[in-house]
Every structure is written in C-alpha cells, then in structure tokens.
C-alpha cells in the first residue's frame, strides 16, 4: 500500500484510546457481552461481527487489526445504538466505533458508498443532489424549488478538515463492500 499523507492512523487511534475521555469509557467495560447479545448484526452474522470484540480489541491495543485488517469489520455496524443504550457501564460504543471507522478511512479502508456520499456533499452541498425528475415532481406537488446552497462555503469548510485526503486516497483502493476477514 502506498504511504499517504495522513498520520499513522493506528497510532493516532491508540493515542485516542489511551489518553482521552473515550479511553476512560473504554476501560470500564467488564466484558459482560450485553452489547453483543442486543446487536442485530451479531445475530445475523452468528457473532462474526459483534460489538464486544471491537471493544476488547480496542482495549488491548489491536488497533491495526481493527483498521488495517477490518477483522472484525466495524463498517458492518448498523449504528442502531442499542448496544450503547443497554450497556450497564455506559461505555460510549457509538463514539468508539466512529473513531475506529474514521481511522480506517484515514488508512484508506473505507467502503465506496461512504466516499461517494461524502463526495456528493463536497460537490453539491447535499448528500442527495437534485435530479430534473424530482425538480418536476416538486413543482407538481406545489413545493418550493429545491434550493442550491453556496458550494464555495461548504468546500471551504471541508478543505479545512482532512476529508479531501481521505477521498483522494480512497479512490486508489478497491471496493471494500464485503470487508476482509
């Protein structure tokens, strides 16, 4: 894999997991598995994807495995947030999984549907750009025209974040639709 300009994503993630509020949240996990028994994706994958294993790996310094091997593949998370709701220790699984996915994206391991959606936002200011057929439908329904936003503002702001690098880098990677495991 070619080296890209984002800092070592695994090392950054490790720092975040050891030296931040999120790290404190991670360490109170006592492995009860309530998260995994409530997870709809764990149910469907026979536990191949399950929230507890991600928390365990994050807790034990296996950041590379999480973001480079995608094993387990955090992108399979449904983001239904039930795990966080039922966690007796109030572990912030939501933010931990976002951090894992962000680091995987920095590494270039990001499914195409994510980069294409974010790219639409960059190009049009909207995740779903207006199509002529919908413009016509809106008029038929008596709705105001779908407004166009100031793309320059959106792009200016996005350029202040690392997203451009992620989008450019991801273009060089193959589709990860099935992850790797």
């Amino acid at each position: 894999m070619e080296k890209h300009e984002l800092d070592n994503p695994a090392a950054c993630l490790r720092d975040e997991f050891t030296d931040s509020e999120l790290g404190v949240s991670l360490r109170v996990c006592y492995n009860c598995s309530t998260c995994s028994t409530s997870c709809p994706v764990a149910l469907e994958t026979g536990g191949k994807f399950n929230p507890r294993s991600i928390i365990q790996l994050a807790n034990c310094g296996f950041e590379e495995r999480l973001i480079e091997d995608l094993s387990p593949n955090t992108w399979e998370c449904s983001m239904c947030e039930v795990c966080q709701e039922v966690c007796p220790q109030h572990v912030n699984l939501h933010e931990i999984f976002i951090s894992v996915k962000n680091a995987a994206a920095d590494f270039g391991n990001i499914p195409e549907s994510y980069t294409s959606e974010t790219n639409q936002v960059y190009l049009h200011g909207k995740a779903v750009p207006l199509q002529p057929v919908i413009a016509k439908r809106r008029a038929q329904l008596g709705l105001p025209p779908s407004p166009e936003v100031s793309i320059s503002e959106i792009q200016h702001l996005m350029d202040l974040t690392p997203v451009k690098l992620i989008l450019e880098h991801a273009n060089t990677k193959s589709d990860l639709s099935e992850g790797s495991s």
């Binding site: 709809p40 994706v41 593949n73 998370c77 039930v82 976002i98 959606e117 974010t118 936003v149 099935e178």
Partner: protein
Amino acid sequence: MESESNKSTEQTTQSLQFDIFVGCTIQNRIPFIEKSARFVFEKLGIKLYDNNEFGCCPDPVGVQSTNHETWLTLGARNLSLAEQDNRPIVSFCNGCSETLKAVRHELLENPEEKSIIQSRLKEIGREFNGTSEVNHFIEVLYEQVGIDPIKELVVKPLTGIKIAVHPGCHYSRPHELVNTDDGLEPIYPKKILEALGATVLEYQEELMCCGSAVARVNEDAANGMLKRKYSSIQEAGADIIAVICPSCFQQLEVGQRAMKKAYKMDVKIPVLYVTELMALAFGASISEIGLKFHQVKPIKTLKAFGFE
C-alpha cells in the same frame, strides 16, 4: 369544553415557529413527504421558514463515519444559519435531527472544539453559539403541540387501520445526545397515531433497525434483519407500516422487493410517513399529497378504508 379546547389550540400553536430542515433525502428524492409535512404544520398553525442555505446535515452515518471533524464543521454551519434567523429548527428526518442535536451537544460540552469550529466558521463569515434548539418533528407534535390539538383537527379518522410503527434508531438514540422520548421504547409516534383513530399494534421486532447502514457493506445481514422485521409485522397483521425517517422509509419500501429475491418471501405492506397519515386524517386527498409516488402503492389499502 369544545370551544375551550379550540382556544387552547390557537394559543399553543400560534406562537410556534421554526426553520424547516427538510434534509437531502426528502428534498431531493421523496419530496411527497415534505408535502405532507408542510400540510400538517400549516393545519396546526405552526409557521415554517425556509432557509435556502441549509446544506447536508451532514449524514450521521455516511459523513460522520468518514470523518467526524467534517461532520462537526458542516453541522455547525447549519446551526449557525438557524441562529442567524433566531429560530429553532424542526427536522423531518431521524438522521438530520440526530446530527444537528449531537453537533450542538458536542460543541456546547467542549469549549476547545467549539473555539476551533468558531474560527473555521469565521472564515466564511458565520458564527456558532448554540442558541438555536433542534427538534425532531415528532417532539414538536407531542411535546409542544400536544395530543388534544391534533385530535381536534381530525376530520377523517384512521379507524380500523392497523399500524405497525417503526420509529427508527436515530430518533431516540443515543439517548444522551438526542434526549427525547424513551431510548428503547419510544411512544410519541404511537400516541400521535392513536390520536388519529388508528389501531397501533405491538409487534416483537419493533426495535429492529431497518438495516440501511448494514446494507452498504453486508447485504445478507441487512436482508436477515429485514426478514425478521417484516415477518414480525406480518404476524401482527399490520395494514400499514408507519415511519418517521426517510432512510427507514426507503429501506422498508425497497426491502420488500429484496425479500422476494432473497427468500421468495411475499411482503406487500405500504409504508407511510406519520405526516402522511396525519395529512389524510386532517382531510388531505390521496392525490394532493402525492401518495402515488410511493414504490409500494398504498392507494388500494387506503381506499379500502374510505380514503379518496
């Protein structure tokens, strides 16, 4: 009694005004939902203002998972626009309302992050202070309008229609961020539908996620989730599935075809937005709110219950 409660409707709703945050999916893919939303809010006398500068919320799944900082920055821009209007936001989408609430929450809790975002917004001449509150439309209806004023507007009750409610995940979770209803057993959408005269069913898999995020990377798992959901809804005997999120709406419509392909399973249950059902109960015609644009056609079912 009658006139007294009518008076209270006016008092409750006249003062309510919001910036309407339509969201990309409703605005540019399924705009008939926006039609029903505007119809209902107008009937209730709630003033909605359009701010044409709102961009993508951005998507709490797609954009936040790609880069949290980007999500935070663009979310703050939207909030700054509402602040400039000096109005709270009402969102008609679980995803948009989660994003806007969560961004506001995160920035108000973290002064350091807030100052970074403020300096970025300054570059485009905007400012975030966190003064505009964000509401999901269900919250506005249940908490700020209340059930009685909704009941008073019903001219065509949904009597006899058996409805399975799919509240969707981001409406009430993570609860500490969105702070509405109950995190695991939300009831507001049910109470609203009952006020319209509908029969709201209990079903086993109500909490089951629609799986739209899972479908991006693992189609089999997403189909399995939907199969559980639909089976449970069919078992309960629902005529209609009611939703409050455009992402769930699309997934639960498209998923019906996927069931045929994956499991040879027949599912044909119309999916309607709570605002569509409200509009019908408030007297809107089927054509007026564009119900013919649904993929799973609801017209036959609705006509069977006397709707034109």
